[in-house]
């Protein structure tokens, strides 16, 4: 395709992405290199309906000139990236020299917010991605095998976990897993442990989030696999049957290779989404036990903190993390490109 034709076709999507994503990314990267100016603090007296108290406030006049001269703030380079809330360079250097062996090092490393969040995020991603794809695959096989008339309702039902808005889905599930809720009660009955609470222990909270993650994302894999199964080349299958290939080898050599590109695509999307896990943590009030990079961004942007540079740095680190995780797939796409 000629460059000009390409441009004509590509212009609308390029404009939309440029304006609403590329420009913001540039501004986010810039933001992560700057921090607010030093604040001049003055002691004042504040009066409220209750009492007058000694307090402090920012001397706006004193910083006004500074702000006008450097509207972006003060340039801090990579300081934000390396501070304790992010990569914690100094703290890690100290850990190397001080910690008593690898066990102690890991324990103290996981005490740093970024690495604690990374531990949960990576675990979540590594478990949820394959299991939700696998579950979706088996559900697709199952739905594919039932009579045509039942398939419509079966498809709808299988899509439910994805289409019920997570906001409410999680609210209801959150009640269900409460120790007085239906699932919580069932767990207590099964384990015969009256003090069992899924929300009170970190391990059980992680498991709960992971199970929810699998449950709510399996439908995505299901839809894609179900459709993929419809296109398995019939003639190849038949000739394999005539050749006397066993069921297993038919699946192994015909069905699976056919579904491989779908699987790669899904894994790509799911790794990316799971690395940015956020909604379940907020909906399940699980911040005490599990945190993620996106959760930090959310917290940094809240009204009373507004740590914009910190949120920007975490966002950039998220993008870099996704790129590192996806690099094997990307290299493969690069090699294949243009061959198709």
């Amino acid at each position: 395709m000629k460059h000009k034709t390409f441009l004509q076709f590509f212009l609308p999507t390029a404009t939309a992405m440029f304006l609403f994503i590329a420009l913001p990314i540039v501004s986010v990267v810039t933001q992560s290199l700057y921090a607010p100016h030093r604040q001049v603090i003055v002691e004042v007296e504040n009066c409220t309906p209750f009492a007058c108290t000694k307090s402090t406030t920012i001397d706006q006049a004193a910083t006004q000139a500074l702000r006008e001269a450097q509207p972006l703030g003060r340039f801090v380079g990579l300081d934000i990236y390396l501070d304790r809330s992010h990569l914690a360079a100094e703290e890690i250097a100290r850990l190397f020299s001080q910690s008593a062996g690898p066990g102690d090092f890991m324990r103290r490393l996981l005490n740093l917010p970024f690495y604690r969040a990374l531990a949960f995020t990576l675990t979540y991603m590594a478990v949820v991605t394959p299991l939700s794809i696998l579950l979706g695959f088996f559900v697709a096989l199952g739905v594919n095998a039932i009579p045509r008339l039942l398939r419509g309702p079966a498809i709808f039902v299988s899509l439910l976990p994805m289409i019920v808005t997570p906001l409410i889905g999680a609210l209801i599930l959150f009640w269900m897993v409460d120790s007085r809720g239906i699932i919580g009660t069932a767990m207590i009955w099964l384990t015969e442990n009256p003090n069992l609470s899924l929300k009170a222990s970190s391990v059980l909270t992680w498991i709960m989030l992971i199970v929810y993650g699998i449950w709510s994302t399996a439908p995505f894999a299901f839809v894609i696999y179900y459709a993929g199964l419809q296109t398995v080349p019939q003639d190849t299958l038949e000739s394999a049957m005539i050749d006397g290939a066993s069921r297993w080898s038919r699946i192994r050599y015909v069905v699976l290779p056919h579904l491989l590109p779908l699987t790669v695509f899904m894994a790509l999307i799911k790794i990316m989404d799971n690395f940015r896990v956020f909604e379940p943590i907020v909906s399940f009030n699980a911040g005490a036990h599990a945190q993620s990079l996106s959760y930090f961004i959310y917290a940094d942007l809240s009204g009373e903190t507004r740590l914009l540079s910190s949120a920007a740095a975490t966002s950039v680190l998220t993008i870099l993390g996704v790129l590192v995780l996806l690099s094997p797939v990307l290299v493969r796409t690069w090699r294949q490109f243009g061959k198709a």
């Binding site: 999507t13 199952g142 039902v157 459709a227 790509l268 996106s294």
Partner: protein, 293 residues
């Protein structure tokens, strides 16, 4: 068609059947529970005393003289004018699906037909764009949108959703178009068509299956979105999900939680009709466009 042609041995099909049934139960259970509970009062449905209250509804009985009540629905639809949010959601969803697919098909087609390296880099850029956490993007929009008076209007939210949705749409449709043989449009070009004519007369007629599947995901994104719509729409223009969230709020007022629950049930009903109606297309859509990684 499909693997259905192979008959499974009875034991295996029994195991598969049982597992499928289990999944269907697990998938429906929370929703069925919600449907049942939406006719109860909050104290029963979210009972902290005994979970069986959600089934039997003693507080509902005490308050309304019956174990079922429609107050949740009445409150949401009549008092809180949930229909307005429904209307807004309808506008946003339809617009997002139509615009994303228009932009996506054009762009995806171009990417699939280009043999230059920059097409790869564009796809890679799209991937980087998708990796950006949406909360950061949305927070970044606030200041300029307020300055230029764009904040709060439906078109703003629509364009933001379209843009956020483009990377996924592009990847999916590019892969899909790659499966449509090049010979088709190339022979049209030989016959003297312009690229747009070739696209219109040759590609458009055969692209629907892939487009419909991609459309399903765009639809779900727009329909379920919370981050963008909650932060960028004013109260009057609220769509359904932020409206439901506003029923919950920071300080939950008695009864409002059940407005949220009944709204959720209400918004799932049209989806059922939609899936039943489109199920064949959804399937045949993915059929034709096996996505390549």
């Amino acid at each position: 068609m499909g693997v259905r042609a192979q008959k499974l041995p009875p034991v295996l099909s029994l195991v598969f059947g049982a597992l499928l049934l289990l999944w269907l139960l697990v998938a429906t259970f929370p929703f069925a529970w919600t449907l049942w509970g939406s006719f109860k009062v909050e104290g029963d449905f979210f009972s902290k005393a005994d979970w069986t209250h959600a089934l039997t509804g003693p507080l509902t009985l005490a308050e309304y003289g019956s174990a079922f009540t429609g107050t949740g629905y009445e409150g949401a639809w009549i008092k809180e004018a949930f229909w307005r949010a429904t209307l807004n959601s309808f506008v946003v969803t339809v617009a997002v699906v139509v615009i994303s697919l228009t932009f996506g098909t054009l762009g995806g087609y171009a990417l699939s037909r280009s043999t230059y390296r920059y097409a790869f880099w564009l796809l890679l850029a799209a991937l980087v764009f998708r990796a950006m956490p949406p909360i950061t993007l949305v927070s970044g929009y606030l200041l300029p949108f307020y300055r230029w008076n764009l904040w709060g209007h439906l078109p703003t939210a629509i364009f933001v959703l379209v843009a956020i949705n483009q990377p996924f749409t592009l990847w999916m449709l590019t892969a899909f178009f790659k499966n449509i043989p090049r010979d088709l449009d190339e022979s049209a070009r030989m016959d003297g068509c312009t690229p747009f004519q070739a696209f219109r007369h040759v590609i458009i007629p055969v692209m629907w299956p892939g487009v419909i599947t991609t459309g399903l995901f765009s639809f779900l994104l727009a329909y379920n979105d919370f981050v963008v719509t909650a932060m960028l729409l004013s109260k009057d223009n609220q769509t359904m999900v932020p409206k439901i969230a506003s029923f919950l709020g920071t300080t939950q007022t008695e009864g409002n939680v059940m407005f949220a629950v009944s709204s959720v049930v209400s918004v799932t009903a049209p989806l059922f009709v939609l899936v039943m109606f489109f199920q064949r297309q959804i399937v045949s859509g993915l059929t034709a466009g096996a996505v390549k990684g």
